[in-house]
Amino acid sequence: MSATFTDHQAALRDEVKKLLTDGSIKGFIGYARGRDSYHPVPAIVTRPDQVDGLILDQFSIFGLTKYLLDYIFEDGKMGIVVKGCDALGLGRLINDHRVDRNKVHVVGLPCAGVLNGEKVAKLGLGKVQRVTDKGSAFLVEGDKGSKELPKTEYLWDKCLWCENHNPAGADTLLGSEVENVAMKPRDFSDITALEKMPSAERAAFWTRQFSRCIRCYACRNVCPACNCRECVFDIADPRWVGNTVKLSEQQMFHFTRAFHVAGRCVDCGECERVCPMEIPLMKLQRKLQKDVIELFGNPKPFVPSEVEVLGQFRVTEDPEEFM
């Protein structure tokens, strides 16, 4: 049974303290306790005295890499803790020439899956005392009760088909690498189901979703692929998407955002997770992923590569539908 994140907490604090003290980093991006045991939040510490506020627990889902953009013009290195999925996000930022790898100290966190805090919070286990990895389940012991939670039910969806359990290229690795196998194959059945709907029904589905959008841009702001210096939605001239929240603008917004990320999405799912209106944004991204896989024979479009799918073509192999 592999170690849990909490097992690495002390090591992480020691490492960050050391790095901050010896001046190799000027700040560290990690996690801190949120409003309860189930919602750890990002924390950025710059002084050794803040380090004890850093935590690591099995609910540490937040992809922190986007914060690196706040420091690209500052001198010195930032430290950051990344899981396998986050490492892809970091790869995205590096491949997009937005983050200089040399200015980041990467602390890698091997990951056997992250518990879905939203789901676990509803179980009423109270304040979490301990989480133990039982192989196919996590035993969560809280002050109001304990429960063994099967991974297939209580991990985030993306963890189930994750094939990047170990962050590649970390400067420091917490513990040792974990077995890197997907718990189940990547599943596009929900996408297929949507595709099969009649146009009008599908339209109604998306209308309902998009009409909830409040245009808070949390999805954009958390997305490692949405890393433009100046986002197209913030540019007034030309204004591609209007400020109003009319349905057509919401749709233009979501179409544009999704398409800008097409072939560049690292499948971290953070957009959907942070959406306060619970819009199933990954159903947009995963549709594009599915099509990219099917059309362009790229089995892993979510792994950042030298040239992304829309930056290349194949003369004869690409499907020809437009004759």
Binding site: K66, Q209, I214, C216, D234, T244, V245, E278
Partner: protein, 343 residues
């Protein structure tokens, strides 16, 4: 006068209201309960602590038309007046309280926001006291409570399988006496008062954790504190807190033209957005997250109280629940008190 109404009669009333005017009520959709126009009472969700977004959506909509203009050679401007009357059902005490805070900004002073005023005038607010405050709720910190009814035209309190009701304004009395005629029964005054008291005294656990007392003064000399630097680092710069907040009211004006015709809209804006204060020449007086985060909390807890003598927050807890990075007002209040305590 206290009244009672059965659950069935309440449904009938809501059906009537939905038929006769625009009825806005909580609806559960894809796991999110929010206020939406409904056509029938059956669409309404009653099992919710609070709606994801607030009554603000309907009094101060996220975008609304202000005027229509025609510019083909000459210029004509046609002012657009807000639409028809609406009834909002299921408004929680914190949101009722927020309306009073919005009123201060938008209807007082030299200029009144006529759109907001008109919507306020044409909206009947039917409040619904909180049975089970969420663990993010802290209305009591500001002196509100789960039974707080100020701002409601009609206030409802669930009492077993019926509702205790109180019409608190002429608009409210018109509902009770008009479409509600025959549906309400007089309540036993003492029992009714007991119900109200029980709601007013209902425990709000998180409220006990958040002590707002004196925070406005504490912040008077806090503008330059290192704290803003530290806390703002984790801000994602999204607008979630401001858009779900029932009291945030920042907006921008924007034009959209097609050919020689167009509309000017008023749309919500967020002080968390970098462009919010970016000037035409490119200069931004609030260039980083630090200034923007500081502005938001100083505004709610210091500037607004200076101007209007109350906090611009009702403890609805939406930002507590929804901020993706846990940077919310309750935390800031606690932090500032902590910093000040240590200082």
């Amino acid at each position: 006068m206290l009244l009672t109404i059965t659950a069935d009669n309440l449904k009938s009333l809501l059906d009537k209201l939905a038929r006769d005017s625009l009825l806005v009520a909580p609806v559960l959709e894809d796991g999110v309960t929010r206020l939406k126009p409904v056509k029938a009472a059956s669409e309404i969700a009653l099992d919710y602590s609070n709606t994801a977004t607030s009554i603000k959506d309907f009094l101060f909509p996220q975008s609304e038309d202000l005027l229509r203009f025609v510019t083909d050679g000459t210029l004509s401007i046609e002012e657009i007046k807000p639409e028809r009357a609406q009834v909002a059902f299921g408004i929680r005490p914190c949101d009722l309280a927020s309306v009073a805070l919005m009123d201060k900004v938008l209807t007082t002073g030299e200029y009144a926001d006529t759109h907001y005023q008109a919507r306020r005038k044409n909206t009947v607010l039917i409040g619904l006291a909180c049975e089970s405050p969420a663990d993010t709720c802290f209305c009591t910190s500001y002196g509100y409570n789960p039974g707080h009814s100020a701002g409601a035209d009609v206030m409802l309190y669930k009492d077993g399988d019926q509702y205790l009701a109180e019409a608190l304004s002429d608009k409210g009395r018109e509902v009770v006496g008009g479409p509600g005629e025959g549906l309400f029964k007089p309540a036993d005054e003492a029992a009714g008062q007991a119900v109200k008291k029980a709601y007013a005294e209902k425990e709000v656990p998180f409220g006990k954790e958040v002590d707002v007392e004196g925070i406005d003064q504490l912040l008077d000399n806090f503008f330059d504190d290192q704290y803003w630097d530290d806390v703002s680092k984790k801000c994602l710069g999204c607008g979630t807190c401001t858009y779900v907040c029932p009291t945030c009211h920042c907006f921008l004006l924007t034009d959209e033209a097609r050919g020689g015709e167009g509309l000017r809209f008023r749309c919500w804006d967020s002080c968390m957005f970098a462009n919010y204060t970016k000037m035409a020449g490119g200069h931004n007086p609030r260039p980083s997250k630090k200034e923007r985060v500081r502005q938001r909390f100083m505004h709610k807890l210091n500037y607004y109280p200076h101007r209007y003598h109350s906090y611009l927050c009702t403890g609805c807890g939406r930002c507590v629940a929804m901020c993706p990075v846990g940077l919310h007002i309750a935390g800031v209040i606690k932090d500032v008190k902590g910093v000040k305590a240590h200082a």
